[in-house]
């Protein structure tokens, strides 16, 4: 699946997007975050404060417990500050 990052999440990870194959057992957004944090410092930094970074699956806001099976694109970003 494709992961995309925005704002300071993008800056901390150091890329705008990437293609990943999550290992077996990574079933929810929370699992995916836990696995990403294990991949390197930049991910650990981006997700350092539990519950701050928001997620969307295929353009729809989701909670950490949302299942990722079938997702085409999962996005991570800070709380929105538009308007």
């Amino acid at each position: 699946m494709k992961l995309v990052y925005f704002a300071w999440v993008r800056e901390r990870i150091g890329r705008t997007d990437e293609q990943v194959d999550a290992p077996a057992g990574v079933e929810t957004v929370a699992d995916l975050v836990r696995w990403l944090k294990s991949r390197g410092e930049e991910y650990a930094y981006a997700f350092e404060n539990e519950g701050v970074v928001r997620a969307a699956i295929d353009h729809v806001h989701v909670k950490p417990e949302a299942r990722i099976a079938g997702a085409q694109e999962i996005a991570f970003f800070p709380p929105m500050t538009g308007g």
Binding site: V4, F6, A7, W8, A56, H59, V60, H61, A75, F77, P78, P79, M80, T81, G82, G83
Partner: protein, 152 residues
């Protein structure tokens, strides 16, 4: 009901958008136009840079618009949100709500702005007068609270 949603870098023209919304209709009694502008924060800011999530921004605003249509008897809605570098005094966002009566237009416009602030995937970064890129603007708890007052 006519709904126009646009995400663009260019400035918008409130008068032209209002004319598009009301043209040829005699059943609209109230139009509320909200314009959000870039402030200079006491002279500190040179610009705000707005990043967005293309595709999701349009989809999320369409979902918010659908909610507003469910809640209020509206004759038309227009939402335009800019991205890119925006200087103090320039427009960032426009919400237009047209209805037969004032209360629906006021409430729908206020609801749409509260939801845009808390749900639409846009992020602001400050650019300072001294030429440096400043911090990302932090989300305000008051914006989440403003959204929650609409319930459900």
């Amino acid at each position: 009901m006519a709904a126009t949603i646009r995400i663009q870098a260019e400035p918008f023209d409130v008068a032209a958008e209002t004319a598009d919304l009301t043209r040829g209709r005699a059943d609209i009694g109230a139009v509320v136009a909200f314009t959000g502008l870039c402030r200079d924060e006491g002279g500190r800011l040179a610009a705000l840079e707005l990043e967005h999530y293309p595709g999701m921004a349009e989809a999320e605003i369409a979902r918010i618009v659908a909610q507003a249509q469910d809640r209020w008897p509206l004759h038309g809605l227009t939402i335009i949100h800019r991205f890119g570098m925006i200087r103090p005094g320039e427009e960032i966002v426009l919400v237009l709500a047209a209805s037969a009566h004032r209360q629906a237009a006021f409430e729908a416009a206020s609801f749409l702005m509260d939801y845009l602030k808390a749900h639409a995937p846009f992020w602001k970064r400050e650019h300072l007068k001294d030429g440096t890129a400043g911090a990302w603007v932090e989300a305000k708890e008051s914006d989440d609270q403003a959204m929650e007052r609409w319930g459900r």
